[in-house]
């Protein structure tokens, strides 16, 4: 893989390669270039996970002619697809090198920081929502209890905006979560549950289920579970699989007109 990256850099097919380099024991994102080929010796292939595609989109916005290569996981691929259909990246300026990721029946081993979920504590199990359950399991509670449990999770929020800041597919220059007419800004806890539900709605047809938001959440809110649910609805109603289906999601928050036509005919 190292030789492949070296060839890409030397041939000029890419200007820089985003991957990880081990610095003092910490695998950190690093931009490898043709001028520093010897640094490739220290390239790190492991479970480190930073939003490289978001960094690439940021660099591309600054310099559209830059050819960027990046180390890619399955979630990175999906995020790149979403960024491409939303015109944040030109597919011709991106070159991916795939990493062993997401275990399947063909490959059991994978390099990802998300594979071993943290054990859920007793209190969270009793009055909150377990981060490691499926959307169906989380829906097993009755309405009232479900609302109470989710409210408990949401009121822990310290409004760091980390979920948005680390999200590879959050690219809007103006964010609803910072708009004072839409969300009460400045107060803690944020408006429960509106703050989180606004983000959840915006994640419908956008979220690539990478789990970076949940990893970055200081309050341990089951964000991935929430966005998984909204994406399930999008798949059910519009037959759209985020990051896999081509084209923009039929459910759009952006744009002049909002259409809510259901897609699959057989769903009736």
């Amino acid at each position: 893989m190292m030789n492949h990256i070296r060839r890409l850099l030397v041939s000029g097919k890419i200007d820089l390669f985003l991957a990880y380099k081990s610095i003092a024991g910490h695998p950190l994102p690093h931009a490898f270039t043709k001028d520093n080929l010897n640094e490739l010796e220290d390239i790190h292939f492991g479970s480190a996970r930073y939003p490289l595609e978001k960094i690439a989109a940021g660099l591309s916005a600054k310099n559209p002619d830059l050819k960027i290569g990046l180390l890619s996981r399955d979630c990175t691929q999906r995020a790149l697809n979403v960024l491409t259909v939303w015109n944040q990246l030109k597919p011709e300026s991106i070159e991916v090198v795939n990493l062993n990721c997401c275990p399947s029946s063909l490959k059991e081993h994978a390099d990802c920081s998300y594979l071993s979920p943290q054990a859920t504590g007793r209190v969270k199990k009793q009055i909150g929502i377990d981060n490691n359950v499926t959307p169906q399991e989380a829906e097993a509670f009755n309405r009232r209890e479900r609302f109470d449990r989710w409210s408990y999770e949401f009121q822990k929020c310290i409004k760091c905006y980390g979920c948005r800041d680390i999200c590879p597919v959050c690219f809007c220059t103006e964010c609803s979560l910072e708009h004072k007419d839409l969300i009460g800004t400045g107060n803690l806890p944020p408006e429960v549950p509106i703050f989180h539900l606004v983000r959840a709605v915006h994640m419908a047809g956008r979220c690539v289920d990478c789990g970076l938001c949940e990893e970055a959440c200081p309050a341990d809110i089951p964000l991935r579970l929430l966005y998984r649910k909204v994406n399930e609805i999008v798949t059910e109603l519009f037959d759209y699989r985020t990051g896999v289906s081509s084209g923009q999601a039929p459910f759009q928050v952006l744009g002049e007109t909002v259409t809510l036509e259901t897609r699959p005919i057989e769903a009736a």
């Binding site: 950190l28 480190a48 600054k62 200081p218």
Partner: protein, 135 residues
């Protein structure tokens, strides 16, 4: 285009979260949490997430200012230090050393904080020393 990632420690409070700065062509453009840092384990608060913003903020003070006639007037260091010393002396003489309090900062170094408390105790003569990150 030169792209660098620089690991650092958050300068806001005494917790010491690990952060990663993205530097593009010598300009700090974004902050990420350091995922493998033992203190914050890939998480940050809102201050940490926005560390890169204050570096280039237009609201930063770049020169010493003196408030006179209700307005801030640009001045030189010599003059400002002299003025501060005189005014502090005046207050201590009139109201006693305990009328002065010293508030130190997490944004300055350990050594500077030490000097500040030494200044409060040995020069002014008060124990009124506090720190914004006395969590």
């Amino acid at each position: 285009m030169e792209v660098k990632f620089v690991p650092s420690v958050c300068s806001y409070c005494g917790t010491g979260c690990g952060v990663l700065f993205q530097v593009v062509d010598g300009e700090l453009v974004s902050t990420l949490p350091l995922k493998t840092h033992p203190v914050n384990q890939g998480k940050l608060c809102i201050k940490g997430w926005n560390l890169h913003e204050y570096i280039t903020s237009y609201m930063r003070l770049k020169h010493p200012l003196v408030k006179a006639f209700g307005r801030f007037i640009r001045s030189g260091w010599e003059e400002v230090i002299q003025l501060t010393a005189e005014r502090l002396k005046e207050v201590v003489d009139r109201h006693g050393p305990d009328s002065v309090g010293v508030l130190v900062s997490a944004k300055i170094t350990n050594e500077e904080n030490y000097l500040a408390q030494k200044f409060a105790r040995a020069v002014i003569g008060t124990n009124n020393v506090d720190h914004c990150a006395r969590l």
